[in-house]
């Protein structure tokens, strides 16, 4: 340590004579940077005989190993009337024990070696992940694969999972944002399984047999991909995987779910909740990652509301008008389809003002696209420069690469991403804005207490149909 302190002292003497003159006057835009050269390490892809695909990258900085298995299964496949089955299956997969270990044996062993296994269930994928110390890798993998391939879904654990899920559903009514975003999802995916959400009733109907069948339908080697990174040698990892999973051999598995139908028509939905702050969400269908419009739309979203303080919605609604603390936009593209949303959490009295401000911004973008090359250049530069963080850790690299294949995207998708962003021009923005931000496919959702709005919602325009909806409405 001493050595470095001496070092610092040398610099102090040396630099204090010549330094700060230049520093205080440099325009931050004029700083010259050394070029950044980086060829991100590529994850190794291995295909086991039974169809399981593995992506693997070594990382010896910290004695930890991360593994995640992604399985094609999710709430999309919930049978009508039993919404929530995928989620409960995921929960009880983790908690319900296996053929060789009871639930509490698994928990005891894992906790003792400080391993963590978690499950998350999405719309069309389920991820089982583990973080484990390098020295306990064998024990960890044994439990991990046992859970993946030999779960028994104990009745008792399923009952607990149901009780907890029902309580969580009931507690949603305490949280205005959760209520609003759930309703938003229903509206955006109206008429599609993605818009069907679990309810107290649907959870109540789920039985153990449903879990077992659901598991059997989806958990098959050909539907599983694994990403592994950390303090482990590649050939070691492959060998361990072959030993544990090579014998798991059931063919088949579900195909990819079809994209949702393209939603047509616009609507205005009002949800009554007595809260000091209204939640406003505006949604539009947007392009998926495979669409040629994807890159232009990324930029459009960045400029409209997701590019931080400078983006239009934030700058207007939060900065200039001071109406909200959170305001902006989001764009969630999947392979074949996407959703764009704009939102604000506004003071009750200014709800309609905030809504009008956002709508005006969207209409302006739709009608004129982005007119300033400066704004486009700013968005491109930001996206391209930040892209390096996609490769910030080996775990991120390996997971991303696996997800590309899982989602059916080309493996050079990331490699070409920067060039594709660079190629977007003002014409492209105008085109995608006009195509996707049309008022005719726009849904508007407002949660709050109408009586406290300083202007009536109808002042927002009679173009939209208004419908009322109660906070705990199911499905």
């Amino acid at each position: 340590m001493k050595r470095y302190i001496v070092y610092a002292a040398v610099f102090i003497v040396f630099l204090s004579s010549c330094a700060w003159h230049g520093a205080s006057v440099t325009d931050p835009d004029d700083i010259v940077y050394a070029p950044l050269r980086f060829e991100p390490p590529k994850a190794q892809r291995v295909k086991l005989e039974n169809g399981i695909i593995l992506y693997m990258l070594e990382d010896h900085e910290i004695p930890l190993v991360n593994i995640s298995a992604v399985i094609r299964m999710g709430s999309f496949y919930d049978p009508p009337g039993k919404e929530g089955l995928a989620e409960i299956t995921g929960t009880v997969l983790r908690t319900g024990g296996t053929k060789s270990m009871t639930s509490s044996q698994i928990d005891e062993e894992l906790d003792f070696i400080a391993g963590k296994i978690t499950v998350s269930v999405g719309t069309d994928s389920c991820t089982l992940s583990m973080s484990i110390l390098e020295k306990d890798i064998d024990k960890g993998l044994q439990i991990f694969f046992d859970i993946l391939t030999n779960p028994v879904f104990s009745e008792e654990k399923m009952e607990t999972a149901k009780v907890l899920k029902i309580e969580a559903l009931e507690r949603i009514s305490d949280n205005p944002q959760k209520i609003a975003f759930r309703e938003f999802r229903r509206l955006m995916y109206h008429g599609d399984p993605r818009g069907k959400l679990s309810s107290v009733e649907s959870i109540g109907k789920i039985e153990r047999d449903d879990l077992v069948k659901f598991y059997k339908r989806f958990f098959r080697p050909r539907s599983v991909m694994i990403a592994l990174s950390g303090d482990i040698e590649e050939k070691d990892a492959v060998r361990k995987l072959k030993n544990s999973l090579g014998k798991w051999d059931i063919s088949g598995g579900p195909g990819k779910p079809p994209p949702p139908p393209i939603r047509v028509g616009s609507s205005l939905t009002y949800i009554h909740k007595d809260t000091p702050q209204s939640v406003i969400i505006i949604g539009q269908p947007a392009p998926g990652k495979k669409s040629p419009d994807y890159y232009a739309f990324e930029i459009l979203d960045f400029i409209t509301g997701s590019g931080g303080f400078r983006s239009r919605i934030f700058a207007e609604v939060r900065n200039r008008m001071g109406l909200a603390y959170s305001a902006g936009s989001f764009y969630s593209p999947r392979t074949e389809y996407g959703i764009f949303g704009a939102y604000a959490m506004a003071k009750d009295s200014s709800t309609v003002d905030a809504l009008s401000a956002i709508t005006k911004i969207l209409d302006n973008v739709k009608d004129r696209g982005v007119e300033s090359g400066g704004e486009l250049a700013w968005a491109k530069e930001s996206i391209v420069n930040n892209f390096i963080f996609s490769f910030a850790t080996p775990n991120r690299i390996v997971t991303r690469q696996m997800m590309l294949e899982f989602d059916g995207l080309p493996d050079n998708f990331l490699k070409k991403y920067k060039d594709n962003i660079e190629m977007v021009g003002l014409d492209d923005l105008r085109y995608v804005a006009a195509r996707y931000l049309s008022g005719e496919s726009r849904i508007v959702l407002v949660l709050g207490n109408k009586e406290k709005f300083s202007k009536p919602l109808s002042s927002f325009g009679d173009f939209y149909m208004e419908k009322n909806s109660t906070e705990n409405r199911e499905n």
Binding site: A8, W20, A23, I62, L110, G308, G322, E381, A392
Partner: protein, 505 residues
């Protein structure tokens, strides 16, 4: 202290108020093992007292940069609550050279805004006795001036500069004891960071002061008033601490926030953001020598300040249970807290162990007794709340599954706490808990920002990041007897505060 548990996040949310959007970066408070930090951290101190910690990591050409000022809500005087957090918002408004088209012109108007704003507040604070005509005139005047100032300013330049150069995780957090500014950058952009940060540590300009006051009022509405859990936490702290400033919310009390004062905020900045009250932490793809050249060049010129002796009222010993109820249209929830000493007291370390025994993982005692049994939807414990520079609380919180009640949860929790006092923890359980604490630390330092956050936290709170390297030995020393003694001493009824959220009938 350790792991990544759901409820801890809720607690941390309360402790740490994030500035941009609603992201909360959790500063994990756990030290490190099996990863020899001692040799990896390079430590420098500039002549003006600025401390710099650097760790090289070359996995990718990125770097995580933290600036932590040893100050927070505790340093506010009564009547000025919310200042530390509001100052953090103001720091994003630019400087004399960033965010202006012509600072000389702008300055003239900002001075007038300052006078009009102060005059308006002086009138408004009279409440019903305020002169309505006068306030209306001042309000109009202020509005005109703000529009005028807007012609000279370029809003959100700091954000623009960082975003454009690839910055990520741009964020800032204000806590009770500590205020941090964080950004991750491609590693070739460090000079941009130094240029911006040294400038705002020297000459920030508090643009849009009055409209930003409205924004923080909205922040309070969003994060506290529409959030029953946070509201309950606020009531809980106000009851648990009678005299110590930990009783006040970081965000501030709403009536104080309406009158956040520009002069007071400036003075707060001048005093507590001084280089001799600040630590810079850098983790990533850097060469310490190169970085120090830049840091010296940009930060070396900032003058040090005399930091006043902090006169923080010591909390009187609690001598009887306190109970608070919050009636709200929301599902019931429960918070229980006990006063205890803080770092680097050995008892704090014992509480890290107790914390993990009670709620670390699925085999922890409270998880088994409450969640596994289906009577609570969630349960958590937190050691060291709501800050760590002063004696703090050990907190247990839980939410019942309907129709179970908070009363039942309380009973079940006390039962587990009593077992801690009466029965020695089995050696295997103690070993398990120590393993968990060690692994949690590794997990939290596996990212650049995680390690940077941890180093700057311990440097600020305990005076040296090296507390982290000493922690393993401390942990090893924690014995069965220590746990029983600490439980007996602190987890007793007269030392506790209980807050309960009751549904409005």
């Amino acid at each position: 202290m350790a792991s990544e548990k759901n409820l801890r996040h809720i607690l941390l949310e309360y402790l740490v108020i994030a500035c941009l959007a609603s992201f909360f970066l959790c500063i994990t408070l756990s030290p490190c093992f099996a990863y020899d930090l001692k040799d990896k951290v390079k430590e420098f101190t500039l002549k003006n007292g600025l401390k710099v910690l650097i760790v090289e990591r070359h996995a990718s050409p990125t770097v995580s940069l933290y600036i932590s000022h040893e100050t927070g809500a505790v340093d506010e005087e009564d009547g000025h609550t919310g200042t530390a957090h509001f100052l953090e918002h103001m720091m994003f408004k630019g400087t004399e050279t960033i965010g202006t088209k012509n600072f000389e012109e702008e300055k003239r108007i900002l001075r007038k805004i300052h006078d009009a704003g102060n005059a308006l507040d002086a009138e408004l604070i009279k409440g019903e006795g305020a002169d309505v005509r006068k306030t209306e005139n001042l309000r109009k005047q202020l509005e005109i001036l703000q529009r005028e100032a807007g012609k000279w300013s370029i809003p959100n330049e700091i954000d623009r500069l960082y975003t454009e150069k690839g910055g990520g995780d741009l964020n800032a957090f204000t806590g009770q004891d500590l205020t941090s500014y964080h950004v991750s950058l491609p590693s070739n952009r460090i000079e941009l960071w130094a240029r911006i940060e040294s400038d705002r540590m020297t000459s920030p300009v508090f643009r849009e002061f009055y409209s930003e006051r409205n924004v923080v009022m909205q922040e309070r509405k969003q994060t506290v008033e529409s959030n029953p859990g946070r509201k309950l936490m606020e009531q809980f702290l106000a009851a648990a601490f009678m005299a110590h400033p930990y009783r006040r919310p970081v965000l501030g009390w709403a009536p104080d926030m309406r009158f956040l004062n520009i002069d007071y905020t400036k003075e707060f900045f001048r005093t507590y953001y001084a280089p001799n009250n600040t630590t810079i932490t850098i983790v990533g793809d850097v060469s310490p020598e190169e970085v120090m050249k830049i840091i010296k060049r940009y930060f070396g010129r900032i003058p040090s300040q005399k930091i006043p002796i902090r006169r923080v009222t010591e909390e009187p010993v609690q001598s009887g249970e306190r109970r608070v109820k919050l009636v709200s249209d929301a599902s019931p929830s429960l918070i229980i807290g006990y006063h205890k000493p803080t770092l680097p007291s050995f008892d704090d370390c014992v509480f890290d162990v107790i914390d993990t025994i009670l709620s670390g993982g699925r085999t922890s005692r409270l998880f088994k007794a409450l969640v596994e049994k289906g009577i609570a939807v969630d349960v958590n414990t937190s050691n060291g709340y709501p800050g760590a520079r002063y004696p703090n609380l050990f907190v247990v919180s839980a939410e019942p599954v309907s129709p179970h009640t908070c009363g039942e949860l309380e009973e079940a929790i006390y039962k587990e706490l009593d077992i801690l006092k009466k029965e020695p923890v089995k050696p295997e359980e103690l070993e398990k808990v120590k393993n968990q604490l060690k692994a949690d630390i590794l997990r939290s330092i596996s990212t650049n920002s995680g390690l940077a956050g941890m180093l700057s936290y311990y440097e600020a709170v305990t005076g040296s990041w090296q507390y982290i390297t000493k922690f393993p030995d401390l942990l090893e020393k924690v014995s069965q007897e220590d746990i029983m003694t600490a439980a007996e001493k602190y987890l007793e009824p007269r030392n506790r505060t209980v807050a309960e959220l009751v549904r409005k009938k």
